[in-house]
Symmetry: C2
């Protein structure tokens, strides 16, 4: 292995600090931003302190986080300087998004805020509103929420700023994302591993992430780990993670401006030199990208002490450093002194606008970080060039008679999405693209890999410097990357193990929340769908055992808004394709698609599948015998299923019923959109009660064979017609090392138990039915014994095919 | 800041490698372990290869992970040597638990396996069963599952081996836990941050973790990141994380034995020297603990190639390296050659037992890692010394008239649990012990902190070298530590933010799965409860906004087995205490306790609370007027609630109803155990249908005001009597920056909407009711307007108290 040498910019260590007058201007900008931050937290009136501060000027409820705000404003100040100097395409992500006041001030100064919210104008009236509306009921949040221009990363839940940043610069070669990493956030697992984004960033085709670790020193009530290890350890840590740290440490503002200006410029020049070297040579290598460690006091420039207790540079400045200003005149005076320490009279003109010479330090137009179009990525998003689905169709002549890996054609589709949408489509997965049978993508692209290569990689590893597939054993990092990619206007697809999808449960929740929030923000343009294929599903975890059996991820979707959530359970390959056609082209939604990767029976032609997906749930006529002229009435029983394995077992049960109890009128309903079951007032996929009843009858027993935990179906249908007759089977936490059939039997989703369920619930079936029930019990016993002896299912199980053809009337 | 010097053991670099004959013995042991690993994956007969291998000797279905098995067996081999040499109390945790064959072989060799499972005896008959039963339907799993003696870490879901290891050695000063970290696992977020466990391990009172990073090179289909960075980076990374790496790299077995023997001895001696230095001086410091980096080929000693494709030292050896041995005679021969390369005739005696001289390399009795009692921690667990609850009782004379922080007395209780159970009780939380009002614990202990101190820590940081409180901004690490602490026989309590409890959703699932699995393993002794206090709940996230509002963590519990899951929603401080008394003393359960930290109204005396918790749900007589002799019949309506805020709003609604519509007969039911609502066949807390009906009536409208997402109640009660009349209110994903009341109004759990719900659902209330409904709408309008003007709720909301006293009959 060879060491890629660190770049040594000629003379970069000797970069000139700005002259004193420029430093003074930078400091004025920073003072303005800090003043705005304090004002947001405290004031509802008298925004320019034109009169002495009185209790009624203070908000009744003081909210917001001062602690990291000045540090974030400091970074922003210096980023602006570099954007202007080098005409950079740069955006900012706030890891410690609670410190939004520090970022929102600059967005106001650069005019972006007033453009989106004209009543928060750049004058005294607008300023007063801008202050009051911060974290005020009915108005904007206290984090870098979706309402904030320039933000695509709220920073409410911590841990994702670097993975979001990486996603934003993938295939965006000119973009530099400054990612402020809080030292509290840095303790989270997701953040700790996301420093490895540099193993996936290609200096030719991707942009750059410039991490700024903000060593603020404290969390809510504790020091942070990284601020309390030795300098040598910290330096060693980041070099070990593949970064070249540049340290900016201190507390004296002017001294710090000088250091930061040099550090930022050095970082930007190194990034440019790296890119130049890679791009001019055409040889992508892994540079030791620069990063900045900014060690500055928590609550910097705020009150030093309060009633003898340390505030600045201590955890007590985390939120509102002086709480009782409304009732304590001395403390009110302290606040006034604090705010005046920024010399507002130097910062605002007579109209109350931030002075022109300070505003002039912001970049212009789209270069403003508050207005950079990458931070409203929907405006950059191109329509997806979606290939003709017919190319991937799996031929199906007689349903249920041939097998195919359901996900393989999806891989072909994704392959063509990647090639049709160059630089705009990526596939993310922990380590299982081939295992999940999506390997057709390798016909057009490879896996991105910027770490070291070995000769054997040429034969079987599918690695390359510029692949559109990203694999890392961190679901957090992958989903974070995909989030960042989508939010900057591109398309992505994530696939993972069902049981371990829970690892990113909170990320799913947070992305849904972002989209839900955006529904109320008209200027946010629609973004591409968040896609998650859940494969290696519960019913094929018979061999990995109990810990790998958990189909509960779908349940999360039920708690989020129906306008955002989509859950699909296609039973075969064409259904999965038809789902993809619908799901991957919708915007502002989060799709969960459940489809196992192994071979499964095929049922529907592509046309049938498209019609089926359009409805969401429907009768598969060829599986029914309730419409064969015996009697025009309703069936005796409805069997229904959602998911690949449950569908197979359900159909096998129907075959037994139709053979053994031929006079029983059976209807079969397949559900491909989970939320077809939901009430239409709760979800756009919801069937009307009338349609629901036309499928599930007003009063007949319904045996529903579900992929997931059975209660999810009850939860969706409790107020539906005929719900009292619903009997739902699903995974009920029974499993160990089993065969596939045995696992199904343990949870009673297998064909034999379904037959028993029918017999138990349909009245007047006669003595024949009792006999069949005993037969079924024998079958169960026999098959478990077979499994325990042979370690596999019997051939008649593995080779079972639907034998009744396309005719529904062969009774 | 001073740098704590690395220890330099005199001459440790020059430790003597074992003599050749000892190396040969070690190698024989390792070959035996490897032979066993291969046998487990492949054979169902002919375990000693006494006859030529034939297809019928091969299992029908080949499962198991060969890739990391030889490396794990290698570590185990050398750990045994050190245990014997230094009489160590040492256990092993397998991060890559899929490689269980590598660990299960040694557990068989040391006799632990046969002691637990006598039919897997140390002879040919037992060996045949031992092979066949591996990953075989109806038998043991393919990971280090709970069935495996010596394992408390299954390694199925990746990421937690170091945090589990840290938990195991907390307050176990003599224990050394060897934690094998897979290089795939090392990419996960939870693992990446868990290297920081060394900031919490005290060399005086805690034992030591010896991480062995197994640089196996590959995951399922990819190289691993840490195996593909430069040596300098790797070394720098671990030094930066505070460890002293010792590298053992190569592939020649004898050379590697030599290096590993020295490295392990050096590591153990350094650990002992560190402990000696700290313990003799009484001064706890943070050493740069040793760790080992073992770079060995994936699938080491397995087939080099198959059909011209690279196997050993490549990803293709991840699982079963040769798949078709049953049908391909050449490949069958390859397998036989491979197995014979271990020279089984040297390893087993005539009876088929592993030879005595090989078994003699294992430690004896409890020193065997397969039998160390720490790996069945329930046997070491002492009964919890639980203090008298009366000490913490909050006086309540008239219900609903005084306020108190509900969690404060719980903090006092935990304080005394810590002091009553020294070295056996720990409190874990991300950064919020004080914020969650548990600060009374600091009267008896502090926060563990082994990183650097600053002078200001003395005044307000509550840090110390030996605290029983562990705070780190990584829920993953904390829960992992607690898991490890519980599984080794101690007690712990975790508390966290409600919305971000989802971060550890999969860890909750996995711990429940472990406990569920243990129900079928009689030799596993019961362990202490897994406790999670969910505080900073949804209804008090009006100020943090939408992203901090998610009460869905409870929903997870509904999908796990009722024998394990417990969810409590105490409405006041004494209820929380009574819950704690029950919950914290139960074994083999996972408790979720939802209780906000802010001030709330108090309702029950401790005696009342104890009775209430015993039942799980009950009528609060003083809030009802359905039993006041007006009419002996049932009420007109039942109002019910679960959770602190929903209860307050529900009672306020009742007060309005009783004042405005006095002839309406209202019953109030409080639910403190969520699963009281469940069917008793699904959960031991479930009320009988008869009791359920006696609370909720057979046919009257029920308005249920729930803390969480409302559908959870429907999901639990869909098959209960009177469910069709249940109308559930809860969080329905509506919120932004609000006041508390406004947030309640958005989701219609507020008093005014509840009154409207009652009026809408109770028939024949007359025109007065219609008027009241209009009044309620006015109230809602008025209060939202107030909130938007003032930023707070009106004083009459904040100061609302129950005015109807203890008499239920003041109509």
């Amino acid at each position: 292995m060879t060491v890629t040498p660190l770049l040594h910019l000629s003379g970069s260590e000797h970069l000139q600090a700005p002259a004193d007058d420029e430093l003074q201007r930078l400091d004025a900008y920073w003072r303005a931003a800090n003043y705005l931050a304090v004002g947001m937290i405290y004031l509802q009136d008298n925004p320019l302190l034109r009169e002495p501060l009185r209790p009624e000027h203070i908000k009744n409820r003081l909210l917001g986080h001062w602690g990291s705000s000045p540090g974030q404003a400091f970074i922003w100040t210096h980023a602006n300087r570099l954007i202007k100097a080098y005409d950079l395409d740069m955006i900012y992500m706030s890891g410690p998004g609670h410190g939004a006041p520090g970022a929102r001030g600059p967005v106001y100064i650069d005019g972006s805020y007033s453009e989106r919210y004209p009543d928060k104008s750049l004058d005294e009236t607008g300023l007063k509103k801008f202050f009051k509306m911060f974290s005020f009921p009915g108005h904007i949040g206290s984090h870098c929420t979706a309402e904030m221009p320039g933000s695509i990363h709220e920073g409410g839940e911590l841990g994702y700023v670097l993975s979001h940043a990486a996603g934003s610069v993938f295939d965006n070669p000119e973009l530099i994302t400054v990612a402020c990493v809080g030292d509290g956030e840095a303790e989270t697992g997701p953040l700790a591993t996301s420093w490895h984004i540099n193993k996936f960033l290609n200096p030719i085709k991707d942009g750059a992430v410039l991490p700024v670790l903000h060593l603020n020193g404290y969390k809510i009530a504790n020091p942070t780990i990284l601020s309390r290890i030795d300098h040598e350890e910290l330096d060693s840590l980041f070099r070990g993670l593949g970064w070249t740290p540049i340290f900016v440490e201190g507390c004296d503002p002017m001294e710090m401006h000088r250091k930061m200006a040099v550090a930022m410029e050095q970082a930007v020049l190194e990034i440019r030199a790296i890119q130049e070297q890679a791009r001019s040579s055409g040889e992508a290598f892994r540079p030791r990208w620069p990063m900045i460690v900014l060690r500055s006091p928590k609550g910097w420039t705020g009150p030093q002490e309060l009633d003898g207790k340390k505030i600045e540079n201590f955890w007590r400045s985390h939120q509102v450093p002086i709480g009782d200003v409304k009732t304590n005149p001395d403390h009110l005076q302290l606040l006034e002194d604090w705010m005046k320490s920024y010399r507002p009279w130097e910062l605002f003109d007579d109209s109350g606008a931030v002075r022109e010479e300070i505003r002039a330090l912001s970049p212009k137009g789209d270069r403003r970080m508050g207005s950079n179009p990458h931070t409203n990525g929907g405006v950059l998003r191109k329509d997806l060039r979606f290939p003709e689905l017919r190319n991937y169709e799996v031929p199906v002549e007689i349903p249920g008679t041939t097998e195919k890996e359901n996900t393989y054609p999806l891989g072909e589709l994704i392959r063509d999405l990647i090639s049709n949408n160059p630089g705009g489509y990526r596939l993310f997965g922990p380590d299982e693209t081939a295992s999940n049978r999506l390997q057709a993508v390798y016909e057009t692209t490879k896996k991105a890999w910027m770490a070291n290569f070995l000769p054997e990689d040429l034969n079987g590893s599918e690695l390359s410097r510029d692949g559109a597939v990203v694999e890392m054993l961190s679901e957090h990092t992958l989903v974070g990357m995909m989030d960042g990619y989508l939010l900057t206007g591109r398309y992505g697809f994530f696939h993972t193990y069902e049981a371990f999808a829970h690892v990113v449960a909170s990320m799913y929740n947070q992305h849904c929340k972002w989209l839900e929030h955006c529904e109320e923000i008209p200027w946010r343009a629609p973004i591409a769908p968040w896609n998650c294929l859940i494969s290696s599903t519960v019913w094929r975890q018979d061999h990995n055992g109990f810990t790998h059996q958990d189909p509960g991820f779908m349940d999360l979707a039920g708690n989020k808004k129906g306008s955002i959530t989509r859950v699909y359970l296609p039973a075969d390959a064409n259904s999965l394709l038809a789902v993809a056609e619908k799901a991957l082209t919708e915007t502002d939604v989060a799709n969960i698609i459940v489809s196992d990767k192994q071979k499964h029976l095929q049922y529907l032609t592509l046309d049938e599948a498209r019609r089926h997906v359009a409805k969401g749930a429907g009768i598969w006529e060829w599986a029914c015998n309730d419409n064969c002229g015996i009697d025009p009435d309703e069936p005796d029983v409805v069997l229904a299923s959602a998911g690949d394995i449950p569908t197979k077992e359900c159909l096998a049960a129907i075959e037994i019923l139709r053979s053994e109890i031929p006079h029983l009128k059976v209807r079969y309903v397949n559900v491909v959109k989970l939320f077809a079951m939901a009430n239409p007032k709760d979800h756009p996929h919801g069937l009307s009660d009338r349609d629901f009843e036309s499928l599930f009858t007003p009063d007949k027993p319904v045996i529903f064979n579900f992929h997931g935990y059975p209660w999810l179906i009850h939860r969706l249908t409790y107020n539906r017609p005929n719900h009292n007759n619903f009997h739902v089977r699903g995974y009920k936490e029974q499993g160990n090392i089993n065969t596939p059939l045995e696992l199904a039997i343990c949870n009673q989703i297998d064909r034999f138990n379904l037959v028993i369920d029918v017999i138990d619930r349909v009245e007047s079936l006669g003595s024949r039915a009792a006999h069949v029930k005993e037969q079924m019990k024998d079958e169960i016993h026999k098959h478990r014994a077979y499994a325990h002896e042979h370690g596999t299912d019997a051939p008649e199980i593995n080779n079972w095919r639907w034998s009744l053809g396309r005719s529904s009337c062969n009774v």
